[in-house]
Point group: C2
Chain length 425, copies 2
């Protein structure tokens, strides 16, 4: 990245030395994992550029937006409605939580037995290496799992602009009312932050922008159903990851451009890998940049990933917000209805997720499902048992993986994954 | 226990062989831990009897109640309002979750990294050794922590009468509305189960019965503030444990009888241990029968426990339900207000708990606080870090313990506890 950014990072209060080290690891990891892939769609060049500038140009853009009075809102979860943020002329960005950092410092605030994703969000703060977090005017936490819920109490002592959103635990009428109320409260908070009153016009426009982003991903997902698979799981995951960072319109355009290319590939029956390569569906915990460990192991072990049942994937993007409402109030209803469908494991019961995994396995023609659980993520680790049982009942091979961000278990994971893939041939 | 009970246990579908083994372990544990104590109040003889008949006479009573058409409701949590149950002419009992059982079978349903309390509730079901569970007409689960919330989804497949109560995560207006709504839903469910309509008269009476039970415990707690301590922590814990099992009126009477005795002791300046014995407050996870491991280690290491900041202790019993309401509706409000004050770690933020620990440490003249966290209990383990920090700021020595129901770490725990107590002298 250009040296021009150093002043910006300094201004954001980053620890330059630690940040350099992080960028170097990130860059090398990307080169090893992404750039070594064969037959990538040319359009992925855009994402390669995005990743090479993830702490550079994108941050510069956010800083330029801020200079023009636009506010930046950071989030750690798909339950934070981008529609509301955009409608108030603000920008929503996902915050860093995909790599271990400053572990020793983190464990002064969090128990060792906390999932890597939560530890990572603290590590990026304590290590002062997340320019997204440092440039955010508001950081939104949310009461999803116990780990995050209690973690935000401590994070709130480390940053001065944390806003905590409550979430329901059941998809009951009362649960919906709670979510509706919380989105209303969030709207007020965002309006207060930006000084911009959300109107029917601005909210309607925002709904369309976010839907377009999701629709582009839907189009890509649809194309991944083809045999042979036209794009690697790693590349598709990257698109799903950048979904949380990039300018929405540009993201939509870039994904659609890749889809044009994939359509040509499909017409010409050209796959990213040979047709006989076992197809795997990943299900479970979200994978934030640069957490590419498991997909990388899977795709270098002879399989291709055809779908992600994940927050960073189809769980997060599958539903659109209804666009027909005319008033802010009705639009807020539509937004609530949309997010209330997300079948996160924090909900009980969560039968819809089991159905979705089964449906995805069939539609994406997966030969097997690998359940990805972050160690100590109770909701997903606990659900992995009934998920595995339900898949077995349908004779869909399943493998449960429990891991963290460390590379210590990579060899052991590879052995297990290879054995699983062998069984799918 | 008498052989007369065998037929009853058989009728309840218990695994007699496994149940015998359990009772033998329980009996020996009780003898070693409880009966070896010196200077016990005579009134504890009642609790010795209760414990010797915990799966016998008490179950016989419940079966007799059932024979007369009364319903038995089982619960795992202090958020289930006994007032509502009693008002519908039903009986509430706490369900077994204090010992490891059928671990191998349990781990087919729950991840290994699940807290011992939740595993235990499954173990008692899968091992068929909990006569309370088997005699319950309704079992109430509740959305407290992730572990329990997701665990009940699987437990619901093992028992056919599980009722799940939703709970809020924040003490907001919406959170209170959710709790109020859930208590209303619970009232309807209990009325449906019992066929008894709850009236202002029956509910008012029930509120008074439960308050009397709590007041008896308050009286005992108040007496534990004396120096020297008139009763051991183990004995006081037992009273708090039996609180969940016994007939309420008889329990109240028995605790008050012990209190009369303690008052005499205090007047005569007779302690259960010498005055110079360090005084310890326990704070954290609940301890269900027969989970006496940590208190036993503490009190055989030269300290006396003077209070329990726990669900099985002051967190669970400290607040009374206001008795002044006249209508069922207003009483339901009062019940909601009462339970909404419980400062369980599932709430965020939960600053009230920190204040309560500090207040208890001062009022009970504790020389130090031992935080008891069940391994993998995220809410309490996560709160233990700010708890320790807050205590350190007030110069109150604190020790964080993380353990399970196994005895493998008893030696190591004893070494740590002894070192901590040494530091309090």
């Amino acid at each position: 990245m250009s040296n021009d950014y150093v002043a910006m990072w300094k201004e954001l209060g980053l620890n330059l030395e630690a940040h350099d080290a992080l960028l170097s690891v990130l860059g090398n990891g990307y080169k090893d994992i992404y750039m070594s892939q064969k037959n990538r769609p040319e359009g992925m060049g855009y994402f390669d550029f995005v990743m090479s500038e993830v702490h550079g140009l994108r941050i510069k853009e956010l800083m330029d937006e801020r200079a023009q009075g636009r506010k930046i809102i950071g989030s750690y979860c798909v339950f934070v409605p981008e529609e509301i943020v955009l409608a108030a002329n603000a920008t929503l960005v996902g915050l860093c939580s995909g790599a271990d950092f400053a572990i020793e410092e983190v464990e002064k605030y969090l128990p060792r037995n906390t999932c890597a994703l939560i530890k990572s969000s603290f590590g990026f703060k304590l290590g002062k290496v997340c320019p997204y977090l440092e440039s955010a005017d508001m950081v939104v936490g949310e009461n999803t799992c116990d780990g995050k819920k209690k973690g935000y109490e401590s994070l709130g002592n480390l940053i001065d602009n944390l806003y905590v959103m409550d979430l329901p635990q059941m998809k009951s009428e009362q649960g919906r009312a709670l979510l509706r109320g919380e989105y209303e409260r969030f709207r007020s908070a965002v309006e207060k932050l930006t000084g911009v009153a959300i109107t029917a016009e601005s909210l309607s426009k925002a709904i369309k922008i976010v839907n377009a982003k999701r629709s582009a991903i839907h189009r890509m997902s649809e194309l991944r159903k083809a045999v042979p698979a036209p794009i690697s799981g790693l590349d598709a995951l990257l698109a799903n990851q950048v979904f949380f960072y990039d300018n929405p319109a540009r993201f939509t355009e870039s994904v659609n451009k890749i889809c044009d290319e994939l359509e040509t590939r499909i017409k010409e029956k050209r796959g990213v890998v040979p047709e006989n390569r076992p197809r795997v569906l990943i299900s479970g915990c979200p994978m934030a940049v640069p957490n590419w460990k498991l997909p990388w192991i899977i795709e270098t072990s002879g399989a291709v990933i055809v779908g992600e049942e994940s927050c960073v994937g189809e769980r997060g993007t599958r539903n659109l917000t209804d666009e027909s409402a005319q008033s802010v109030d009705k639009m807020m209803d539509a937004i609530t209805d949309r997010y209330f469908q997300v079948d996160c494991a924090i909900f009980t019961p969560n039968q819809a997720r089991l159905s979705h995994i089964d449906e995805m396995a069939r539609e994406y023609k997966a030969d097997g499902v690998i359940h990805y659980g972050l160690q100590f993520c109770q909701p997903y680790i606990m659900e992995s048992i009934p998920v595995e049982r339900a898949l077995e009942e349908k004779n869909i091979p399943a493998l449960r993986i429990e891991t963290d961000y460390g590379m210590e278990d990579a060899g052991q994971l590879k052995t297990r994954v290879e054995a699983f893939i062998e069984q799918l041939r």
